[in-house]
């Protein structure tokens, strides 16, 4: 499942991730696409605090792709 949050400045990519993670079942894998450089710090930090898993991050032209797994309800 792809959460394309490129160009999302308000409320921002991480808020989009929070929204989608609430809606989807445990075990779901997401790709979050973000063009906000702040996500490089925010996404891993929030995932660690929230107890979800960052499977990987790759840099693309103009944006980053985060692969994430929801770990709990």
């Amino acid at each position: 499942m792809v959460v394309d949050a490129r160009g999302s400045w308000c409320p921002g990519p991480l808020m989009e991730l929070v929204r989608v993670i609430q809606e989807e079942p445990v075990g779901t894998e997401f790709e979050l696409w973000s063009s906000d450089e702040g996500s490089r710090n925010d996404v891993p930090l929030w995932l660690e605090k929230a107890g979800h898993e960052l499977l990987g991050m790759t840099r693309e032209e103009g944006y980053d792709r985060y692969t994430i797994r929801k770990k709990h309800g």
Binding site: A5, W9, C10, V18, E24
Partner: protein, 382 residues
């Protein structure tokens, strides 16, 4: 037979787009080749950005409402009725009671619906300002407030006007100072992610301002439940905050008929192409405002800018041309940073916002906009 353009929703987006389409197709409407209808449940237009101003007695409740019929051009037919579902195969809207409204081109501007009941304890334990009656109740609660602990909390995602929690916090600080209650009060702000707003260019100046105003920040804080008896709000992260007065932002969802029509995602938001604003997979259906699933602000400004693009694309379709207009993600929102000062954010898909230093001048621009909204945006006269 006239081409039928139907707009669902008489809020900011629906009203302005209906009037703009009428103007773009002026000769076709006058000549009877195009007919425009707007479907709205009550026929009352609510200026929702005014609710926060009602809380702090900067607008009167009646200044936030007008009859929709007064705002629509006389050649647009207002159909009062609640949408039960949209049959996008048969190109018709089914209203509750069974009335059918057929369309050739459809614009969905059905907005968002607040769902405080999704958070246990919210309806009994929290104040909010996302509808007029609750804004008036909060105004009364603040009037009676004599000091204590106030918590401002975002209790669900998504929510409209993403900067509103910041605004109510700063306005509250100013309001309490003006009443000589700030020294007897604490303001606590919670947000679901590890900072006070979604991106650094806004979060950093806002968090600095909160520090200067003595606001305590609790992040990340994803609301789990509210206990109205114990007067506490708890987060899934484990933190629980006591409060004397709780101002919370309720979770939002898209309109029920979106789900019933099979047009939405799990939150009843309509998957929409972020550039053309077409509903995905539907050649003759456009979506704007809160109703889309586009990951940008659910705000009146968004709907206003999107309406320019939808107007051009609907007009093209009505003329048998290809729709080519693109929405580039433009949004402009003021952020109240006190009772008489503001800053703003202006951005598009490629350019993040950089709010300027708060000032009275920015606040005054917002006041002027609030006063001119009815002609400038709703009637789309300029």
């Amino acid at each position: 037979m006239a081409k039928r353009v139907v707009v669902v929703g008489g809020g900011i987006g629906g009203t302005t787009v209906a009037n703009r389409i009428r103007r773009a197709l002026e000769s076709e409407v006058a000549g009877g080749q195009v007919q425009i209808q707007l479907v709205d449940r009550e026929g009352i237009h609510a200026y929702q950005p005014g609710y926060l101003m009602v809380v702090f007695e900067k607008m009167r409740p009646e200044e936030t409402r007008r009859d929709e019929s007064q705002l629509l051009h006389r050649s647009i037919q207002l159909v009062k009725g609640e949408v039960e579902k949209i049959d996008s195969t048969a190109n018709q809207i089914v209203l509750k009671g069974g009335k059918l409204v057929p369309y050739d081109v459809l614009v969905i501007a059905s907005g968002s619906v607040i769902h405080p009941e999704l958070i246990p304890g919210f309806p009994e334990g929290a104040h909010s300002f996302y509808d007029l009656s609750n804004a008036i109740k909060l105004r009364s609660a603040l009037h009676a407030f004599q000091g204590g602990r106030i918590v401002v909390s975002v209790a669900g995602m998504p929510y409209k006007c993403p900067v509103a929690p910041l605004e109510v916090t700063f306005m509250l600080d100013d309001y309490l100072r003006s009443r000589g209650l700030r020294e007897k009060s604490e303001i606590h702000y919670t947000y679901p992610i590890p900072k006070v707003f979604g991106i650094d260019t806004v979060a950093q100046p806002m968090q600095r301002l909160m520090g200067e105003r003595g606001v305590s920040v609790h992040v990340p804080f994803n609301v789990d439940k509210i206990d109205p008896a114990a007067k506490t709000i708890s987060a899934v992260e484990g933190e629980a905050l006591p409060y004397d007065l709780l101002i919370a932002i309720p979770p939002h969802r898209g309109a029920d008929f979106v789900g019933a029509s099979g047009l939405g995602d799990k939150g009843n938001w309509i998957p929409t192409d972020k550039f053309s604003l077409r509903a995905e997979g539907k050649e003759n259906v456009f979506v704007l405002g809160d109703a889309t699933n586009i990951p940008i602000s659910k705000a009146g400004s968004t709907a206003d800018y999107e309406a320019e693009v939808v107007t051009q694309n609907v007009a093209a379709l009505a003329r048998g041309e290809s729709p080519t207009a693109r929405y580039e993600g433009r949004v402009y929102c003021w952020i109240m940073t006190g009772l008489a000062q503001a800053t703003y954010i202006k951005f598009d898909y490629l350019h993040p916002p950089h709010p300027p230093t708060p000032s009275f001048a920015h606040y005054w621009n917002k006041v002027i906009y609030n006063r001119t909204y009815w002609d400038l945006t709703a009637r789309a006269l300029f």
